[in-house]
C-alpha cells in the first residue's frame, strides 16, 4: 500500500526530509530580490529548501536504492555528425528510475490538468502543452546542475518544473494569480526561475537561441565551468538568428548546447514542408551534432552529459531530440488536422516516455504495478491540490500594472489608459 511505501521510506537511510513534505505545495522565494513579493503574499509563501538533487521531488521518500547500478540501453543508438557519438549503455540506479517516473508522471498530470483549466477558461491566451516531451526535460536535468543555464521558448511549463519550480507557481501563473512565478504578469509563455538559472519562457520563435548563446557568453566571460542549454523546436530551427548566434558561438567557443526538440511539426507545418533538410542535428554544418531519441529519458541524459563535456572543451554542439507532442501546437489547435489520430496513438503506444520507464522499473523489479499506479494517483492528487490552492490566490492588485517596468524608475511618471484618471510614479 502507499502507506507502507511511505513508512518504509521513512525507515530507510534517507537524507532527512525537509519540512516541506511531499504534500507541501508552497512556493519558495524566487530570488533574493523578491523579498517584497514574499511580504506581499506571505500566507502563500514558505521557504523552500535548497534542492540538492536534480529532481524537484527530492523530498519524496521513495524506497529506492541509490547504490545498485543498473545498466540500460537506449532505444536506438545515437547518430553523430562531426563527432563520435557516446555509448548507448547507461548506468542508472533504482532511485533514479523511480525519480524519473515520478517526475514525469507529475509533469504529465500537470499538462493534462492545464488542458481542462484552459477549456474551463481559467487559463487565457496561449497555452502550449508539453505532454509527450517530458523525457527531454527530465533527462536533461539528470545530467546537469542548477548552475547550468536553460532557456527555452513558450512550451516551458515542464522545463520550469524540472528546474525546481512548484506546481503552485505554475498553475497560479497560468491563471494569472499573485502566487505565480511571474506574479501573474507573464502568463504561460513567460515562466522564469533565475535562482535555478532558468531564463524563460520566450514568446518570439527563435529569439531564445541568441539569448541562450549570450548566457553561454557570460558563463565563458566569467570563466565558469557551466554550460547553457538553449532549446528550440523544429519550427525555429530555420530561423536566421539561430545561425547568426551559432556562428558566433562557434567562433568564440562558447559553452552553448543547442537542443532542437524536434516534435516534427512547427505549429501545423510538418518538418518536411518547412525544412529542405530536416536533419536538424546536421544543420550546424561545421558544428558537431547528435541525434537522440527524445522519448527515452536515458538517451537524453546521456546525450546531455556528453554535450556538456563537449561544450566545455570544444564549444557549441547541437542535440536533436526526436520527440513528439500529444497535444496540438497550443490549446487552440486540435492537433489532428495535419496529422492522423493513428499517428498520435501509435507514438503513445510505442514510444511514450513514461511507459518506457514503467517497463524498466517493472523489469528490474524495483516497484510493483500497484505502487506505480499509486504514484500516478499521488501525482494527480498533488496537482488537484495545487490547482485548488492556486484558485485561492488572488489576482494581482491594481498597482501591479505599473510595477517592474524598470528596475530603477527614478520616480518617473507612467500613465494608464486615461492619463487624467490614472497615473503612477515608478519607483
Amino acid at each position: 500500500t502507499l502507506l507502507s511505501f511511505v513508512l518504509s521510506a521513512a525507515l530507510l537511510q534517507h537524507p532527512p526530509l525537509h519540512q516541506t513534505y511531499r504534500f507541501d505545495l508552497s512556493i519558495g522565494h524566487k530570488t533574493a530580490d523578491d523579498m517584497a513579493l514574499a511580504r506581499r503574499s506571505s500566507n502563500l509563501l514558505k521557504p523552500l529548501s535548497t534542492a540538492s538533487s536534480s529532481s524537484f521531488l527530492n523530498r519524496r521518500p521513495f524506497s529506492t536504492d541509490d547504490s545498485t547500478t543498473i545498466t540500460v540501453e537506449t532505444s536506438v543508438p545515437f547518430t553523430g555528425h562531426n563527432c563520435e557519438p557516446p555509448s548507448r549503455s547507461i548506468d542508472t540506479t533504482p532511485k533514479e528510475l523511480m525519480t524519473f517516473f515520478t517526475d514525469m508522471a507529475l509533469m504529465r498530470r500537470m499538462e493534462i490538468a492545464a488542458d481542462s483549466l484552459y477549456k474551463s477558461k481559467l487559463i487565457r491566451g496561449f497555452c502550449h502543452l508539453y505532454d509527450g516531451q517530458e523525457a527531454v526535460s527530465i533527462g536533461m536535468e539528470a545530467a546537469i546542475t542548477k548552475k547550468d543555464c536553460i532557456i527555452t521558448a513558450y512550451r516551458d511549463h515542464c522545463i520550469f518544473l524540472g528546474r525546481g519550480g512548484t506546481l503552485l507557481e505554475s498553475f497560479s501563473e497560468l491563471m494569472g494569480r499573485q502566487a505565480g512565478c511571474s506574479r501573474g504578469k507573464g502568463g504561460s509563455m513567460h515562466f522564469y526561475k533565475k535562482d535555478a538559472c532558468f531564463f524563460g519562457g520566450h514568446g518570439i520563435v527563435g529569439a531564445q537561441v541568441p539569448l541562450g548563446c549570450g548566457l553561454a557568453f557570460a558563463q565563458k566571460y566569467r570563466k565558469e565551468d557551466h554550460v547553457t542549454f538553449t532549446m528550440y523546436g523544429d519550427g525555429a530551427a530555420n530561423q536566421g538568428q539561430l545561425f547568426e548566434a551559432l556562428n558566433m558561438a562557434a567562433l568564440w567557443d562558447l559553452p552553448a548546447i543547442l537542443v532542437c526538440e524536434n516534435n516534427h511539426y512547427g505549429m501545423g507545418t510538418a518538418e518536411w514542408r518547412a525544412a529542405k533538410s530536416p536533419a536538424y542535428y546536421k544543420r550546424g554544418d561545421y558544428v558537431p551534432g547528435l541525434k537522440v531519441d527524445g522519448m527515452d529519458a536515458f538517451a537524453v541524459k546521456q546525450a546531455c552529459k556528453f554535450a556538456k563535456e563537449h561544450a566545455l572543451k570544444n564549444g557549441p554542439i547541437i542535440l536533436e531530440m526526436d520527440t513528439y507532442r500529444y497535444h496540438g501546437h497550443s490549446m487552440s489547435d486540435p492537433g489532428s488536422t495535419y496529422r492522423t489520430r493513428d499517428e498520435i496513438s501509435g507514438v503513445r503506444q510505442e514510444r511514450d516516455p513514461i511507459e518506457r520507464i514503467r517497463k524498466l522499473i517493472l523489469a528490474h523489479d524495483i516497484a510493483t504495478e500497484k505502487e506505480l499506479k499509486d504514484i500516478e494517483k499521488l501525482a494527480r492528487k498533488e496537482v488537484d491540490e495545487a490547482i485548488a490552492k492556486a484558485k485561492e490566490s488572488p489576482m494581482p492588485d491594481d498597482p501591479e500594472l505599473f510595477t517592474n517596468v524598470y528596475r530603477k524608475g527614478f520616480g518617473v511618471e507612467s500613465f494608464g489608459t486615461d492619463r487624467k484618471e490614472v497615473r503612477a510614479t515608478l519607483p
Partner: protein, 428 residues
C-alpha cells in the same frame, strides 16, 4: 539621488545651476579647495560671456539657495555676440564628443569588470567612428568583442549575457541597423523585467549614431528616437555636448535597465568645453532630466542631439529680433522630462519642438500633447513642430537640405508662434 552611486561628492546638476554647455561660452573657475569656493571672475572685457560652476556649498556658505545664486550669476551674463571662444585657457578644458564617449567607456570598463563592448569593428578597427579607440589594447579581446555583421545575433547574445549579470555595451554601427535586432531590444530586453515580475533585469546599453549624417541616403538616415521612446521598459538618452555624452553614457552603463543611447555622427568631432566635474571618473548625469541650455522668457524651443546646436543658433538670431528664446536640451527622450518642459512653457507661453526624425508620431508630437494636456491654459499660440520632412531621405544635396530642419526653419516657427511672421499666402 541619481544613480551615481560611486560618487562621494554630491553635486546637484539640476538645470538650475549653470554648466558650460555650448561651445561659444567659456568657463573660468578657481577652485580654492575641494570644500569649495568657486570664484567667478566677472570679465573686464565687454561682451564676454562668463559662466561658472556653482557649488551648492557656495550658496550655502553665503546663506543663499543655489537657485538664488544661480539666478544671480545668470543676470551677470551679457548678450552673446560673435567673440573669440577662450581668453582664459588655464582652467578651461575642451573635449570632442568622441573623446567624451571614449573616456566614459574606458572609465566604466575600468571600474566594473562586468562591462564589455560588443559590435562591428569595435576592436581591431578601433571603432567605425573611433569611439572605441584604444579599448582593445587596454582591455583585451574578451572585453572588446568584434562581431560578424549579424545584428540580430549579437544583440541577442548581448541581451542574454545581460540576463546572466554582465553589463554589455552593444554598438550598432548606425541605428538603422538596429531594426534588424529590434525584436531583441524590445521583446527580449525592454519587457523582460516586467514579464518576469522583477526577476530578470537587463543592464544593457545599445549605443551608436542615430539620425542623418551627410549624404548617406534614405536607408542610413533615419532617427529612431520616437520609435524607441514609445516603449515602456526602455530608457532612451540623447546627448548633445561632451558633458552630456560623458555623463549620460556613464549613467546608462550603470543603469540596471536597458538603455538606448542615440548619438549623432556629425557631433562626434565637435568640441565642447568640459568642466572639471565632468572629467571626474565618478561623474554622471541623471536620467530623465532635461537641461535648460539657454534661459529665456518669450518662447520655449525643445531639441535634442544635433538640433540643440541649431536651436541655440536660432536663439541668437531671434535675440537680435527681440525674441528671447529658452532652449531646452531634452537629454532624455524616455523618460521625458515633462516637468521641465511644462514649467518652461508656463513661463514663456509658446513652444517650438525641433527634431530630425519623421514628423508623424514623433517626439515633438508627444511633447505637444503633453503640453496641451498639462499646460493648455498657458499657451498663447499653437505649438509649432519642426521635424524632418515626411519623405525618405534623398541623396541630392539640395533635397537633403530640404529634408532636415535648418536654423531658418526654427527661427520662422518661433516667429510664427510669436505672431511676428507674415501670414501664409492662401493656397490657390
Amino acid at each position: 539621488m541619481y544613480n551615481c552611486h560611486r560618487s562621494d561628492r554630491s553635486i546637484d546638476f539640476s538645470h538650475q545651476l549653470l554648466l558650460p554647455a555650448s561651445y561659444p561660452h567659456s568657463v573660468f573657475a578657481i577652485i580654492v579647495n575641494h570644500n569649495s569656493f568657486f570664484f567667478l571672475f566677472y570679465p573686464v572685457f565687454q561682451g564676454e560671456k562668463m559662466w561658472g560652476i556653482l557649488s551648492q556649498k557656495l550658496g550655502a556658505a553665503r546663506g543663499l539657495s543655489s537657485q538664488v545664486v544661480g539666478n544671480y550669476v545668470l543676470r551677470l551674463r551679457l548678450a552673446p555676440s560673435a567673440m573669440p571662444m577662450r581668453h582664459y585657457s588655464s582652467a578651461t578644458k575642451e573635449m570632442t564628443v568622441r573623446d567624451a564617449l571614449n573616456s566614459a567607456l574606458d572609465e566604466e570598463m575600468a571600474a566594473d569588470p562586468n562591462v564589455f563592448v560588443m559590435g562591428e569593428e569595435v576592436g581591431e578597427y578601433q571603432g567605425a567612428y573611433k569611439i572605441t579607440k584604444g579599448l582593445l589594447d587596454k582591455y583585451g579581446p574578451e572585453r572588446v568583442v568584434d562581431t560578424p555583421i549579424t545584428e540580430a545575433g549579437f544583440a541577442g547574445i548581448g541581451v542574454g549575457s545581460a540576463y546572466h549579470g554582465l553589463r554589455p555595451v552593444i554598438e550598432f554601427m548606425t541605428f538603422n541597423f538596429s531594426m534588424q535586432a529590434i525584436d531583441h531590444i524590445i521583446n527580449s530586453a525592454a519587457k523582460s523585467n516586467y514579464m518576469s515580475a522583477g526577476q530578470i533585469n537587463v543592464p544593457i546599453v545599445f549605443r551608436g549614431p542615430n539620425g542623418p549624417a551627410a549624404g548617406v541616403g534614405a536607408q542610413h538616415s533615419q532617427c529612431y528616437g520616437a520609435w524607441y521612446g514609445s516603449v515602456p521598459g526602455l530608457k532612451v538618452l540623447v546627448p548633445y555636448s561632451s558633458e552630456d555624452a560623458r555623463g549620460l553614457l556613464k549613467a546608462a552603463i550603470r543603469d540596471p535597465d536597458p538603455v538606448v543611447f542615440l548619438e549623432n555622427e556629425l557631433l562626434y568631432g565637435e568640441t565642447f568645453p568640459i568642466s572639471a566635474e565632468a572629467l571626474d571618473s565618478s561623474f554622471c548625469l541623471p536620467i530623465g532630466k532635461a537641461k535648460i541650455e539657454r534661459e529665456g522668457k518669450d518662447i520655449t524651443i525643445t531639441a535634442f542631439s544635433k538640433m540643440v546646436g541649431y536651436a541655440l543658433k536660432a536663439a541668437e538670431i531671434l535675440e537680435k529680433e527681440g525674441i528671447n528664446a529658452e532652449v531646452i536640451n531634452l537629454r532624455s527622450i524616455r523618460p521625458l522630462d515633462r516637468a521641465t518642459i511644462n514649467a518652461s512653457v508656463r513661463k514663456t507661453n509658446r513652444l517650438v519642438t525641433v527634431e530630425e526624425g519623421f514628423p508623424q508620431h514623433g517626439v515633438g508630437a508627444e511633447i505637444c500633447a503633453t503640453v496641451v494636456e498639462d499646460s493648455f491654459g498657458y499657451l498663447d499660440a499653437p505649438v509649432e513642430r519642426i521635424a524632418g520632412a515626411d519623405v525618405p531621405t534623398p541623396y541630392a544635396a539640395n533635397l537633403e537640405r530640404m529634408a532636415f530642419p535648418q536654423i531658418e526653419d526654427i527661427v520662422r516657427a518661433a516667429k510664427r508662434a510669436c505672431y511676428r511672421s507674415v501670414p501664409m499666402a492662401a493656397s490657390a
